[in-house]
């Protein structure tokens, strides 16, 4: 009975661990430029500000505001991911996986808040996922050309 309990706990833990490692590997993908900046500016997304505030100023986490910000950015980016410069108008496999990962990390953020644990690690993970989404959208959009300008040049000139 003891061995079976041990196997159950360790295996379940490792299942989630490997799932997280696979997601982190996808997030480590290097883009040839910072595509996300144009998307952030054009759509007035706020996740870089949240990250900067936590990284540089070590500001205390305003839970309600941060949650709302990240949720709004997530909704905007997932909409763009599906509809902006996407011929098939559907998510790819890794995007679906990362959407699932975002939801799991968001749940862990809520749980940490209620348990009064450190909230910063999940917030950094959530901003990393959002940055990846913005990079993917930016890269797709940059391939579309309007005359002499790429879409991201056009967005930056706004």
């Amino acid at each position: 009975m003891f061995v079976a309990s041990l196997v159950l706990v360790v295996s379940t833990g490792l299942l989630f661990f490997y799932f997280q490692v696979a997601c982190q590997r996808i997030l480590r993908r290097k883009f040839d430029q910072e595509y996300f900046l144009a998307i952030v500016n054009a759509n007035r997304l706020e996740f870089p500000v949240v990250r900067k505030a936590l990284e540089e100023y070590e500001a205390p986490v305003e839970y309600a505001r941060v949650c709302m910000t990240l949720k709004c950015d997530y909704l905007a980016l997932t909409y763009l991911l599906k509809n902006a410069a996407n011929v098939n108008q559907r998510y790819s496999g890794e995007e679906r996986l990362l959407i699932l990962y975002f939801k799991a990390v968001f749940f862990s953020l809520v749980a940490r808040h209620w348990l009064r644990l450190h909230e910063q690690p999940p917030i950094f993970k959530l901003t990393a996922i959002l940055q990846y989404f913005a990079n993917v959208i930016g890269q797709r959009v940059s391939m579309v050309r309007f005359g002499n300008l790429t879409a991201s040049d056009y967005l930056l000139s706004l």
Partner: protein, 266 residues
């Protein structure tokens, strides 16, 4: 029985039957998805001429396809789902697949230690010892309990086998972190393997802990298949979809540009 009672009983029976057919359809859908992924990944590796670098993965995929896709489907078609033959074939091939996965993890160890000859010498001995031990115990336990395979023995046995593989896989992951391996592809392959071992091990332990409860054993066809699918999708991303660092071969650089660079260097 009055008419409303009869109607109620008929509704319940029809509902249960629909649920059963629905669950079977979902199960078949998952399995067809797995076979397509296995075959697709194998074909993609052959077409991209990556057989040389990923031979152990290809061999394992071939085994998976032959046993899971062809062998089990044939035995199921021939003898039926609730036959003893199918039961024996399913569980014995499951042991075979777990041992195949064990050998694949050993091959991953070899790849991780490619630049660590000293460490590989030690790891090789350890792996050989664990392999002989696992193989010996498996064969001994199976031969002793062959006629009472379905009396809970197989659950216990599979739980231990999968957990041993999971521990070995996790040791490999830790080793890769220790030697700061930069092989991202291998990292994802190891993650996929971890998902494949962890789900079934947890499920077998749950079956063991809840004797007489059908839901735990009913979960296995779904959880086991979904974990296999998770592994295959992770491998697909690692081997086929992940953006590779673009290496420039000499032939791809225009000769004029190359000459300009050489004269500038001179």
């Amino acid at each position: 029985m009055s008419d409303p009672e009869k109607a109620g009983a008929w509704c319940v029976r029809t509902g249960l039957l629909t649920l059963r057919y629905l669950s079977l359809a979902v199960q078949y859908g998952i399995y067809v998805g797995i076979y397509l992924l296995e075959a697709g990944l194998l074909v993609a590796l052959v077409v991209r001429r990556r057989l040389g670098g990923t031979l152990p993965v290809c061999l394992y995929l071939g085994l998976l396809l032959a046993v899971d896709g062809v062998g089990r489907s044939y035995v199921l078609y021939r003898y039926g789902y609730s036959s003893n033959e199918y039961g024996y074939f399913y569980w014995l091939t499951d042991v075979l697949l777990a041992l195949g996965a064990f050998l694949l993890v050993c091959a991953f160890f070899r790849r991780a230690c490619a630049h660590e000859a000293k460490m590989w010498r030690f790891v090789r001995l350890l792996l050989a010892f664990v392999l002989i031990l696992t193989l010996g115990i498996s064969l001994f336990a199976l031969s002793r309990n062959y006629h009472q395979l379905f009396t809970g023995f197989i659950v216990d046995f599979q739980q231990n086998l999968y957990f041993t593989c999971l521990v070995l896989n996790t040791l490999l992951y830790i080793l890769m972190q220790q030697i700061q391996s930069t092989d991202d592809e291998l990292n994802l392959l190891v993650c996929g393997m971890g998902i494949q071992f962890a789900g079934p091990a947890a499920n077998f332990a749950l079956v063991h802990l809840t004797p007489g409860q059908d839901y735990a054993s009913a979960l296995y066809p779904y959880l086991g298949a979904l974990c296999t699918m998770g592994m295959l999708l992770t491998w697909f991303y690692a081997l086929v979809r992940a953006p590779q660092p673009s290496a420039i071969r000499a032939g791809e650089v225009p000769a004029r540009e190359l000459a300009a660079v050489v004269s500038r260097e001179a």
